[in-house]
């Protein structure tokens, strides 16, 4: 290990944010701030691509490890990536610059502060995905609450205060139990280092409680039914860029946490609680899909569809099959791209007409055709049409579930149909039909930056839909190894 590449990934956005701090807003428009933040995040993206290229796919062990003494003899600052976490890091560094470009149209006041919040958010999220020590993970996991609270609260819609509080307190409540569990692990096993814990395993008699404590945090963050209610509120009130970050990356922290910690550290308990996860996931898939059908607000609809999609993810993770877990990871990446794009699509309409109600649109296909095409692409990707990345994820997950439990798989497949129903119905009502409002004719089609962002998201969605090999090759060995660790610890304890 020569150059601390992961630490520089984490630090770079913070340095950019510090730099922004010294620029000045002029009438709410700050070009320097925009360029600086765009530059930092793009550089970060390039570094992460370099990381991916130099990543050795043939080994399952963690790479680019940095290990420094931090709190004497107790916690080390330890970061590293394997085939699973590297994909999330790339997702993060890919989405953030797009968020910053989209800020152009959506954020009108205090642009500089907004960009600072997004940059700080980015470094915390990267930190979450490469932390290899439980305490370091917790630190990044929780710290992300601060910028997100401000993003929703300062730049959000009319009910922003309520939503920001709900978001913050819900997630904090879930996380404090995880802190108790982390400290308990330290006293039980004598370390919080994830790699060592993988080898040592944790005594089976403690696993159930510890698993539940971690679950309470991840379930809120995923979010799983019935603790999902913060998500629609937060999404509806957050500014577009905030929704994108929330949907595309923040929700993935929990899925990642399930894979890395719940499976890796507590196999005995995971075995015990798999029926619980199956039950909650299936309820989430069917129930929230039905709720999504009834929504009148577009953002809310997509928010509920996120809950349903995350239901598939948790389902896939706890199949503990190679296909299931790989499918979950692809589903998370795909959902990151697609939900980001869908929120941006809603944002495009909202910027022009200042309404998110489905009923105030109709027949816009004649007026803004470019937009309608891209919107259709993402609608189809969200419902999992073959040829889009959404299909690969759902297909692999269902394959894993069918091996494990036939009934659950059948009900979950029903969710796919419901997903198609609400997405297509949404598209039909907004884009086709009669013009409901004369003002709609004044709408202009996508401007350059919007076009650019949506195309950037469309390309990987299609590419990985046809050719998912780069993703699967990267994670295959690591997922296989994780399942080995799982089985070993299951037998030994």
């Amino acid at each position: 290990m020569n150059f601390p590449i992961l630490s520089s990934l984490i630090l770079l956005p913070i340095i950019g944010a510090l730099f922004l701090f010294f620029t000045k807003d002029k009438n709410g428009n700050n070009l320097t701030a925009k360029y600086v933040s765009l530059f930092t995040t793009t550089v970060n993206f390039l570094i992460s691509i370099y990381l991916w290229i130099s990543f050795d796919q043939s080994t399952s062990s963690f790479q680019f490890i940095e290990d420094r003494e931090w709190i004497d003899g107790f916690i080390n600052y330890k970061v590293g990536v394997d085939g699973i976490s590297i994909l999330f890091i790339i997702l993060t560094t890919f989405i953030t610059p797009l968020c910053i470009i989209s800020v152009n149209n959506t954020v009108k006041t205090r642009l500089r502060d907004f960009l600072i919040a997004i940059l700080i958010m980015e470094s915390f999220m990267i930190g979450v995905f490469c932390a290899l020590d439980l305490v370091v993970f917790y630190l990044f996991f929780e710290a992300g609450l601060i910028p997100m609270f401000l993003i929703i609260g300062i730049w959000g819609g009319p009910k922003r205060v309520y939503s920001a509080f709900k978001f913050f307190l819900y997630t904090l409540l879930g996380s404090v139990l995880m802190l108790v569990a982390i400290i308990s692990i330290y006293w039980i096993s004598g370390t919080t280092d994830v790699i060592k814990l993988y080898e040592l395993g944790i005594d089976a008699k403690y696993q159930n409680l510890l698993w539940l404590a971690f679950f309470s945090s991840f379930a809120v963050k995923t979010p799983m039914w019935p603790v999902h209610t913060w998500l629609p509120d937060a999404h509806v009130e957050a500014p577009t860029a905030g929704s994108v970050l929330l949907a595309a990356i923040l929700l993935k922290m929990a899925g990642y946490g399930f894979i890395r910690f719940s499976l890796g550290l507590f196999p005995v308990a995971s075995e015990v609680f798999t029926p619980l996860i199956y039950g909650l996931s299936v309820i989430a898939i069917v129930f929230t899909s039905l709720i999504a059908l009834m929504q009148e607000d577009m953002k809310k609809l997509i928010a509920y569809s996120s809950v349903a999609h995350m239901g598939f993810v948790t389902l896939g993770i706890f199949t503990i099959q190679q296909q299931g877990i790989e499918g979950s990871i692809i589903q998370m990446i795909s959902h990151g791209l697609v939900s980001a794009a869908l929120f941006l699509c809603v944002g495009v309409l909202y910027d022009r007409m200042h309404s998110r109600l489905i009923s105030s649109y109709g027949g816009i296909v004649i007026i803004i055709p470019k937009y309608s095409i891209l919107f259709m692409l993402f609608t189809l990707a969200a419902l999992g049409l073959p040829g889009t990345s959404g299909f690969i994820g759902e297909f692999l997950i269902l394959m894993g579930v069918f091996k494990d439990n036939f009934l659950v798989a059948v009900i979950a497949s029903l969710g796919v149909i419901l997903g198609a129903a609400y997405m297509l119905w949404l598209y039909k009502r907004v884009v086709f039909g009669k013009l409901v409002n004369k003002d709609l004719t004044k709408m202009v089609d996508l401007n350059k930056s919007e076009y650019f962002i949506l195309s950037c998201l469309a390309i990987p969605t299609l590419f990985f839909g046809f050719y998912p090999d780069p993703l699967i090759n990267t994670m295959e060995v690591s997922v296989g190894d994780l399942i080995n660790v799982y089985n070993n610890n299951l037998i030994n304890k």
Partner: protein, 472 residues
């Protein structure tokens, strides 16, 4: 008497007090001079303490009535630095209310002397002497703005209730003396017969008195009124400095003479801790005055400190001391912000006065943001690490109930901290406040905010200092 240099700080500070008193009487208009000299005295005392006692392992003096060890020297230094910072930032506030008088710094010096005696005490009588010396000075300080009704009320309330608790404390001392035949902590420890349940009564009475001094629930009633009524600079002093001294006595009293009776007092401390954490968090939600809110939040924070004490281990004591040190810094930062809310020679203390602060005063609001999130215990700020150390030791002793209640009350407490942040950042702006502040005020705010913000880079240093403390 070869070791007189060990009490040199106390001797120096008492001589200075007498000298300054005489100077104040004979020289007219000397308040500025005395103010600055007092600052210097506190600073020099801190240096003497560092020089003379820091490396001492454990020595008892004066017929074993006074003890100098790592804990006493560290706590004395924190007390002195705390008093120094409080005094340095309070001058402009005092001038605004035209109470910039010679008595103010001298009273602070007196109470600091009392606290130093308390911190070093190894004997019930010495401890009581120090306690009364600091309390008497504090009563006067609370009423210092005597033309204001609220300030006089605060002082009187504090005096009456504090006298009551002192009475209880003395009664407890007499019970303990009656059953062990000595007032010295070490001798009590060796004479202890745990079957004497009357002894437990003695412990309980003393604990009640001490709980009153650190305002732990259910002996907290005085705190909100006194904090609200006293001049803000005095409130700052109340929230920081006496608590350090009282906590030290708390530790010494529980862990030196009565460690063997841990079964008797552990439940009491756990109860005090849980009650303080929960009550502090819930009662603060409805407050509209910042000083009252800080009173309740300080009750909550004392609850966490007590949680560390309840463990009965050396690590627990260390984590409590770390907690109170970080808490002192956060409090200093918070009050520095409060002292900056000044417009047309008037100070503002309502939470609504903070409305929309971020538009006019971005830097001040940013510091407040950092401070409040730190008080709420959100990583990666210093407040999180303080709580982290506490819960680490609590969980080590398998006290899961205490840990979970404590962490849940942080969630409740987060609500009212968030409410302030909401008012600062999300609400409509009001008039600007003055922006010309004294350099001391700016310095203390910047210094403490940076400490809070960057604590996570070097968390080991504080632990290293505290880990020398070895009571058991």
């Amino acid at each position: 008497m070869n070791n007189l240099n060990l009490v040199l700080p106390e001797i120096f500070i008492s001589l200075s007090i007498m000298f300054l008193l005489v100077l104040g009487v004979f020289k007219k208009d000397s308040s500025r001079l005395i103010f600055n000299t007092s600052l210097l005295v506190l600073f020099i005392t801190a240096i003497i303490t560092l020089n003379e006692t820091y490396s001492v392992n454990r020595i008892t003096l004066f017929n074993e009535g006074v003890v100098i060890d790592h804990m006493s020297s560290l706590m004395k230094i924190i007390t002195l630095i705390g008093a120094f910072l409080v005094l340095s930032i309070s001058s402009s506030y005092l001038k605004t209310f035209k109470i910039f008088k010679i008595e103010y710094p001298i009273l602070i010096l007196c109470s600091v002397l009392g606290m130093m005696v308390m911190i070093s005490s190894n004997d019930l009588i010495v401890f009581y002497m120090g306690l009364e010396l600091q309390s008497l000075a504090l009563y006067v300080l609370a009423t210092f703005n005597r033309d204001q009704l609220k300030s006089s009320e605060a002082g009187l309330k504090y005096f009456v209730l504090s006298a009551l608790s002192s009475g209880l404390l003395l009664y407890g001392c007499s019970l303990i003396y009656g059953f062990s035949g000595s007032t010295n902590f070490d001798i009590i420890a060796s004479q202890l017969n745990s079957n004497e349940y009357v002894l437990t009564f003695g412990i309980v009475f003393i604990l009640v008195g001490l709980a009153f001094k650190i305002s732990a629930v259910p002996f907290h009633m005085w705190a909100p009124d006194v904090y609200e009524g006293s001049p803000t600079s005095v409130t700052l002093f109340f929230t920081m400095v006496p608590k350090i001294a009282a906590l030290t006595v708390f530790i010494r009293f529980l862990y030196v003479p009565f460690l063997n009776l841990i079964d008797q007092w552990q439940m009491i401390i756990i109860f005090l801790s849980i009650a303080s954490m929960l009550f502090g968090a819930i009662a603060a939600i409805g407050q509209t005055n910042i000083k009252r809110l800080i009173a309740y939040s300080s009750i909550g924070h004392i609850g966490y400190t007590l949680a560390g004490l309840a463990t009965g281990s050396n690590e627990g004591i260390q984590s409590s001391i770390i907690y109170i040190s970080i808490y002192v810094i956060m409090n200093l930062a918070l009050f520095s912000c409060l002292l900056m809310l000044k417009r047309n020679n008037q100070y503002y203390e309502d939470i609504d006065d903070l409305s929309g602060l971020s538009k006019n005063h971005p830097l001040l609001s940013l510091s407040l943001l950092v401070i409040l999130f730190s008080l709420a215990g959100i990583p990666p700020l210093a407040g999180f690490f303080a709580k982290f150390y506490i819960f680490k030791t609590v969980i080590e002793q398998s006290m899961y109930f205490l840990a979970i209640v404590g962490l849940l009350s942080t969630v409740i407490a987060a609500f009212y901290y968030l409410r302030i942040i909401k008012i600062i950042y999300f609400d409509k702006e009001k008039e600007r406040y003055d922006s010309d502040h004294s350099p001391w005020l700016k310095f203390s705010l910047t210094f403490s905010t940076i400490l809070i913000l960057l604590y996570f880079i070097f968390p080991s240093q504080l632990i290293e200092v505290v880990s020398r403390i070895n009571i058991i």
